[in-house]
């Protein structure tokens, strides 16, 4: 037996166990590689673990992330209030509109029910009117309450915006009328200039439940603040009344005497405009 063969036999005797161990490791690595590289095999093994962890995570969210999310949202809303309001405004507006429509319907039904029970000349008249017009008594009652009312009237010099006279059937209020007259004139001038409508005049400003009726004359204009439903019929009547007032009461002398003008204005418009 040669030296080479002897060495080989000795190696076999000494390393058989290690060989077997190395082979088994290689086999295991092969199996793992198979599992890792084949998605189906891997998901079969890993999915249950991930599912368990996810479920645990979801259950823990309110405790762990909840305060952070709430704090972040609060901070974001605080920092961008205008943007939030801007985004919410149309949504809230629609909701309010729907709510008001619903409440108005309920109110109308409620009024109809109550007026049916009560008897008075006024109710009898309204009932007859409702039958003739083919509308419900409730709707008519609501229309009565939404009747247009004069809140304030200003007579303003056209170019300068200086207040010549004013009248309010309600309390005097705290607004500075001279500044209102100036600002109204500035708005009016801006609109008339900006849209290049030739000699056309701004005649109406609407804001929420109020309407500013503007009637133009040569050197001055009349601005009447109206609450309630500003209907075409009311507009016609108001226009006629202002025209009557201008025709019968306003002279160039009056325009220079603010105190006298205010007295005349008050006298003319003291009665309710129908």
């Amino acid at each position: 037996m040669e030296e080479q063969d002897k060495l080989k036999i000795l190696k076999e005797l000494l390393f058989t166990e290690e060989h077997e161990f190395a082979d088994s490791i290689a086999q295991k690595v092969d199996d793992l590689a198979k599992i890792v590289h084949q998605k189906k095999e891997l998901s079969h093994k890993v999915d249950p673990i991930i599912d368990d962890k996810l479920e645990e995570f979801v259950q823990e969210i309110p405790k762990t992330l909840g305060p952070t999310i709430t704090e972040t949202l609060r901070e974001e809303i605080k920092n961008s209030q205008d943007a939030v309001v801007e985004a919410l405004f149309p949504i809230i507006g629609k909701m309010i509109k729907k709510y008001i429509a619903h409440e108005m319907k309920l109110l109308s039904e409620n009024i109809s029910r109550k007026t049916k029970k009560a008897f008075s000349f006024r109710n009898w008249f309204r009932r007859t009117k409702a039958k003739v017009q083919g509308v419900s008594e409730g709707d008519l009652a609501i229309t009565d309450y939404a009747k247009p009312r004069l809140i304030q009237m200003f007579v303003i010099e056209k170019n300068s915006g200086i207040l010549i006279a004013d009248y309010s059937p309600l309390s005097e209020g705290t607004i500075d009328k001279e500044m209102v007259a100036g600002m109204l004139t500035a708005i009016k001038s801006f609109v008339e200039d900006a849209f290049e409508g030739g000699n056309q005049n701004l005649e109406l400003i609407e804001y929420e439940l109020y309407t500013i009726h503007i009637q133009n004359f040569y050197s001055y204009y009349v601005a009447a603040v109206i609450s309630g439903a500003y209907t075409m019929m009311f507009k016609e009547v108001l226009e006629d009344q202002i025209l009557d007032f201008a025709k019968n009461n306003i002279s160039s002398k009056d325009l220079e005497n603010s105190t006298l003008f205010t007295k005349k204005l008050k006298k003319h418009f003291a009665d309710e405009i129908v």
Binding site: E157, K158, N159, S160, G161, I162, L163, D176, E178, M179, G182, M183, A186, S189, F190, E192, D193, N257, S258, T259
Partner: protein
């Protein structure tokens, strides 16, 4: 009898019209510069030496960039006085002054226009007076809205003038 007069502040952007307006109206001043868009209006009651009370309605208009002709004409109509403000530290704000005053004189014949150099606190008064005279720049007063120098007296003099 009630006495009301409309006074319009005119001039280039950033000359301090709003600062003068705020200083005279509310005795306030802010270093923060905010461009006026359109116009803002305020009223000040002034006791005249003869005992009458004047409602001075001041229109603080947005500044023009090139010429006064850019100013919205409807804001100028019916005025009882104009105050043309320029910045003593920026020559370009009084470069068109003579031309602008001519324009006002031609288009608003009876309306007095007074010229005011503002930001006096940033220049040497003696030196700036010399320079303006040398350049033939007409002015009726030099003020500082920041330190309140000459502001009140300028407006009160104007009030007397337009109620004569």
């Amino acid at each position: 009898m009630k006495l009301s007069k409309k006074v319009v502040l005119l001039g280039h952007f950033g000359v301090g019209k709003t600062s003068l307006f705020r200083r005279f109206m509310d005795n306030e001043f802010s270093e923060e510069y905010k461009v006026t868009l359109g116009v803002q209006i305020k009223k000040k009651l002034i006791q005249l030496p003869d005992g009458r009370e004047l409602s001075m309605i001041i229109w603080d208009t947005e500044g023009h960039s090139i010429s006064i002709e850019d100013t919205r004409k409807s804001y100028l109509l019916g005025s009882h006085a104009f105050i043309y403000v320029f910045d003593l530290t920026r020559e370009e704000t009084y470069a068109t002054l003579t031309k602008d005053l001519e324009y006002l004189k031609e288009n608003y014949i009876k309306v007095p226009a007074r010229v005011l150099g503002n930001k006096l606190d940033l220049v040497n008064e003696k030196e700036i007076r010399r320079q303006l005279t040398e350049k033939n720049i007409p002015f009726d007063g030099l003020t500082s809205a920041k330190t309140n120098k000459n502001v009140e007296s300028f407006f009160l003099d104007l009030a007397e003038e337009i109620t004569k």
